[in-house]
């Protein structure tokens, strides 16, 4: 559905997206992750046909977004990050205008409007002026606009940004329902959201694609993802170098003190288990050990590992 090849976008001397390549297949719900300023919105705007690429290509349903822009745009329902709307228009009036722009007429237009108003839970506000709606409802109007012509591909740029927890849940529920019969590319920087919603994760940082795979595979392939937390009673300065010497241990950080207990977290290579070695060490040194816990690798660990700057 989406094929991106060596996509590059420069603004003057600043390179926002650099040689990005990834694909999203029909029916997939893909999460587009990255820290703020990583190039998510730029990439999405290129896919939506708002910005031209500097070089490389992007295809939507086989149509080049720059050369066959009109055909590509017909296949997309796009919700920009801020969900821009005409504040002076009424909800149904706005959706009717947008549906007509997307080529719907007559009976089909009426039917699509009714369906999308119901689907996005806008029945009670369909006559309200858009500027009187809360942020969450405005977001839903934007989503309804993206959906109204039943496009095969939905591109949603941070759809839950700035919403309260209840609104976030209802938008997520909606996205999950839509995922059944749409291909969706959803950008977010909330990792749990991506883990919950997506069959595929694309991680971008500094304009480069760092990973593109299913969440399970990404977590599985993570080489330095295991994290072990321990609480023990011993001089912190003495513990740190000794722990670092143990096999498989990549890094030791002193998390805090709760006198007389010291807390450490230990990054170990994935697929290994350093817990026994840590226990043995404490026993040999006679350090009382109060807690020894291995965290499951999460998408967050993958994300931090791929995008951290230190």
């Amino acid at each position: 559905m989406i094929q991106v090849e060596n996509l590059t976008k420069r603004f003057g001397r600043h390179t926002a997206v650099s040689e990005a390549s990834f694909g999203v297949d029909r029916g997939e719900v893909a999460g587009f992750l990255g820290p703020n300023g990583a190039g998510k919105t730029t990439t999405i705007r290129i896919l939506a046909g708002f910005l031209p690429p500097t070089s490389g290509s992007a295809r939507i349903a086989g149509f080049d977004v720059a050369r066959q822009s009109l055909e590509a745009r017909r296949h997309i329902g796009y919700l920009p990050e801020t969900a821009p709307l005409y504040r002076e228009m009424r909800v149904r009036e706005y959706l009717r205008f947008r549906a007509q722009l997307k080529g719907l007429r007559g009976e089909r237009l009426r039917h699509s409007l009714d369906e999308v108003v119901e689907r996005c839970g806008l029945q009670n506000v369909r006559r309200a002026m858009i500027k009187t709606l809360s942020r969450g409802f405005q977001q839903r109007v934007g989503l309804a606009d993206a959906l109204v012509h039943s496009p095969p591909l939905l591109i949603l740029d941070e759809p839950t940004n700035g919403l309260d927890p209840n609104q976030i849940r209802s938008i997520r529920r909606l996205i999950r329902r839509l995922g059944a019969d749409h291909t969706i590319l959803v950008s977010t920087h909330i990792l749990s959201e991506a883990e919950m919603l997506c069959d595929k994760i694309v991680i971008i940082d500094d304009g480069r694609i760092r990973a593109a795979d299913s969440p399970e595979k990404l977590i599985g392939a993570m080489r330095a993802a295991g994290r072990v937390s321990i609480d023990l009673r011993a001089p912190a300065a003495e513990v740190e170098p000794v722990l670092a010497q143990l096999p498989y241990v990549k890094r030791v950080t002193h998390d805090g003190t709760e006198p007389p207990w010291e807390q450490f977290s230990i990054l170990v290579e994935s697929g290994t288990d350093a817990r026994e070695a840590i226990y043995d060490l404490c026993r040999r040194r006679d350090w009382p050990l109060r807690s020894l816990y291995r965290h499951d690798t999460t998408l967050e660990d993958v994300f931090v590992e791929l995008t951290r700057k230190d």
């Binding site: 705007r45 939506a48 046909g49 708002f50 910005l51 031209p52 690429p53 500097t54 720059a66 822009s69 009109l70 745009r73 017909r74 997309i76 796009y78 920009p80 801020t82 821009p84 709307l85 005409y86 504040r87 002076e88 205008f97 947008r98 007509q100 722009l101 997307k102 080529g103 007429r105 606009d145």
Partner: protein
């Protein structure tokens, strides 16, 4: 074509849903009504060789308010879409840029034509109220409205271009006003410096106040028709490119 009509309708309706549209409508009806009243007074006190239409459009306040119409009705068109971000939803919908530009232009032009309906009625009401035949011929009335529409076609295009160039309505309005005022005063170069200067024919060709003078006398000249229509087309083409260049790949 369907999209063009959808955009036209949305934009045209917008003029009547915002107070700004009604303010402009009142401005034109009020100012031209005032001009007409002044013209009638002039006709009452002394014999005037010209028709009522001619005198009504040659009062001192005509050009003053006339040039103000254009920034008021055009400054919002693209600048507001750009500022509020709705340009992004418009340009990512399957809409041709040419339809977008023509839709907005034609809606503004239609609203501009509507602005003159009260003025037309004012001339008609004259004979109804006074029960004497109106002291003008329909040729001069036709000429007056023809030149108003021709000037409007070009000046609205200038406003569209200025609005497309910025996301700030105020800047769009000031630029439009500036260009129109300069264009207007180019027509006065020959009044100030005389016809002896080499480029005098060019300035006569551009002189809006001279066009108005001939047309309100009922003298239809084809040169201003060609001038205004071709300038309108050229300016709209430039507007199209200003909007469309975002999509150009380098």
């Amino acid at each position: 074509m369907g999209n063009l009509f959808t955009l036209f309708r949305k934009e045209f309706k917008g003029f009547f849903l915002s107070p700004a549209g009604w303010v402009v409508l009142a401005l034109v009806a009020g100012m031209q009504g005032w001009s007409l009243a002044a013209a009638m007074k002039a006709l009452q006190t002394a014999p005037v060789p010209e028709s009522l239409v001619y005198v009504a459009f040659h009062t001192p306040n005509f050009w003053f308010y006339f040039l103000f119409i254009f920034p008021l009705i055009t400054m919002r068109l693209f600048a507001e879409e750009e500022r509020s971000g709705t340009l992004e939803t418009l340009l990512t919908a399957p809409v041709r840029t040419s339809h977008l530009v023509l839709g907005k232009y034609s809606a503004t032009f239609a609203f501009y034509v509507v602005l003159w309906i009260p003025v037309l009625l004012q001339f008609e009401v004259f004979s109804l109220l006074t029960r004497i035949p109106a002291p003008f011929s329909y040729g001069s009335l036709f000429g007056a409205f023809l030149i108003l529409i021709l000037m409007g076609a070009f000046f609205i295009a200038v406003g569209c271009l200025a609005s497309a160039l910025t996301s700030n309505q105020l800047i769009a309005g000031v630029v439009t006003m500036g260009v129109l005022v300069i264009h207007y005063f180019l027509g006065y170069v020959t009044v100030i410096y005389g016809d002896a200067i080499g480029a005098a024919p060019v300035f006569h060709y551009l002189a809006s106040h001279e066009h108005l003078l001939y047309f309100t006398k009922g003298l239809i000249d084809s040169r201003p028709i060609i001038y205004y229509l071709s300038m309108a087309a050229l300016t709209l083409l430039a507007t199209h490119h200003v909007i469309d260049h975002r999509r150009w790949t380098s």
